[in-house]
Homo-oligomer: 355 residues x 2
């Protein structure tokens, strides 16, 4: 980059707001910033200033007075649009939703024992099933994504066009003035700064719908054919340890009944709740049943995560203890032990046991 390049690139990001210094910035432009684990412990609701930021492009300038949400689709008159004031006339509902990146726990994807083996034969290009129709969300900054129409119109699906987050106007980084919120679905479909909703026979044409956010076989290797794979919508059952931190010192113990307090989160996609979280301090040979702090949500609409804590035994002579957690969701889906079966080049939908 020349100095001129840098200056013109910087100019694109002038509307990016200041961020809470507590966030861990993985990349500044576009902003990709994580919440430190310790700020999530035991808090069912993450405060907006601590909510993770995953932008794919610069934050757009959207003037609330000029804002229009365009709506397009079969049977909808051309030029149909809504001001923000008009949208606020619709019944207001509050829904508690956990948003999770497709790339959550991507760092666990780094290990891949297959890299030096020859690529296996593919058994044939798979036919990808076409959905009858999709609801496509376009963002003011150029991002776009879609969801199956069946999810969009499901009266129990709780899909929102949100203008508030935690009781205040939605922050600039999170989609001001309007964001799609698609409960039970990967956050990549909850389009920020949404200014158009289209009903279409095709998925969103965006890069992120077509050539990103899809899962692949471990054997698909590093160069993948996105047209053969399926868009991530609902995420699988997931859990992670938030505390103690990696490498933390826990109190020395000489009594055989000594335990360490472990806390974390668990969630599943598609409105499925969490039935159980198992925590181990011996690599998964024995498990302690965690105490769950379950959201008070209806069957099939359990969109919010479950926080948990457990007191796990620690052997008195252990110098190092490896903690492991895994969750079981309402469908009795569980997490795979390791990355062997789920590693993928894109590092998405990583839900192996968390160690």
């Amino acid at each position: 980059f020349t100095a001129a390049d840098t200056a013109s690139l910087s100019a694109l990001f002038v509307n990016d707001p200041p961020r809470d210094p507590a966030l861990i910035v993985r990349s500044a432009r576009p902003c990709n910033a994580e919440t430190p684990a310790e700020l999530l412990v035991g808090k069912p609701i993450t405060p907006p200033n601590h909510f993770f930021v995953r932008n794919h492009l610069p934050v757009p300038v959207v003037n609330e007075d000029d804002f229009r949400l365009e709506v397009e689709g079969p049977g909808i008159p051309d030029g149909t649009s809504f001001t923000l004031a008009a949208l606020k006339q619709f019944p207001k509902v509050d829904v508690t939703v956990t948003l999770q990146c497709a790339g959550n726990r991507r760092s666990d994807n780094q290990y891949h024992r297959l890299v030096r083996r020859p690529p296996p034969r593919r058994s044939g290009r798979r036919r990808i099933r076409h959905e009858v129709a999709h609801a496509v969300f376009d963002g003011a900054e150029g991002y776009g994504a879609s969801i199956p129409i069946a999810k969009a119109i499901d009266p129990l699906g709780d899909v929102l066009l949100a203008y508030e987050m935690d009781g205040a106007p939605i922050p600039l980084d999170h989609g001001y003035p309007l964001r799609a919120v698609v409960p039970g679905t990967v956050a990549a479909r909850s389009v920020k700064w949404v200014n158009r909703v289209r009903l279409s026979d095709e998925e969103s044409e965006s890069h992120w719908q077509r050539n990103d956010y899809k899962g692949f076989s471990p054997s698909a290797g590093g160069t993948v054919d996105y047209s053969t794979a399926h868009s991530i919508q609902s995420m699988p059952v997931q859990s992670a340890i938030l505390t103690p931190a990696e490498g933390a010192r826990v109190a020395p113990a000489n009594d055989p009944g000594h335990t360490v307090r472990v806390a974390g989160y668990a969630l599943s996609g598609a409105g499925r709740g969490v039935f159980r979280v198992d925590v181990s301090s011996d690599g998964g040979r024995t498990w302690v049943d965690a105490r769950l702090q379950e959201p008070d949500q209806a069957w099939g609409r359990r969109w919010a995560w479950t926080l948990w804590e457990a007191d796990v035994p620690v052997a008195s002579d252990a110098a190092e203890i490896e903690l492991v957690c895994k969750a079981v969701d309402e469908q009795y889906n569980s997490q795979p032990e390791g990355m062997l079966g789920i590693w993928n080049a894109r590092g998405v939908v990583v839900n192996a046991w968390h160690r």
Copy 2:
């Protein structure tokens, strides 16, 4: 048992019909009989005479002319009932549904490396969330089970009271004259010989709802407290190899490109389809993408299984080849590698990689 005991027990089963000799009978009374794998290969629809039989009690005598389905619940007049002729006046719908036992693949549950370790401390008795309401099905023979009311009344949930199977009256072994069919849900909730539907704030009081068909942590051990665990409703993502059979001889091969044809099934619960099936001949280090024969069903209502086949490479010098399969469903849930995290005393919801 005395001879008199045996005679009176036998008398209970006089209404049990003859079964197809092809079935593998695990226990005769009550009948628990499996379909041999080779009869399932490549057949999306299992013929009724080859459909697995899992009865918990003797087959009851139900006279179609005297049959009444009683319906009870808040707001429903006392004594409400329907004859079979009356039920047939309701719109008839055809739904293709795969039914799966909670104990499918139970034999894979026999290995348990934890048996000689001391039981871990439990981290506290968990609170079990109560559903607002349940639809309870009672069978004429004494079996009973329930499902969440949200599933029962979901217009896209496709729950049926079925009087036909594959175009003919439902066979005696499968619930003649009426069976509840609960798509996407463990077969144990599809109550046969159903003669009463009740709406209740409580789950079915039956043994099979309260003290059976629940999953537990591997560390819960052999004596479990059913009141602390959740009823199985939707089953997790599952797959299995149907052919070649265990121990089958495959053609010797001296060329490095030699493959063996592997075929099986995959399915998930809750109407989720199957995105991918991976098949390995090297213990999971490399995978071949199977060709899928997907049911033509709508998003969220994919109740039928997906048959698949794959041609996997076999090393020319291998004396024995271990085949492995695993599936990925539409929620990107996948199967755990082994039994370490999912072993349970009851042997239910076993969905480790199939070897």
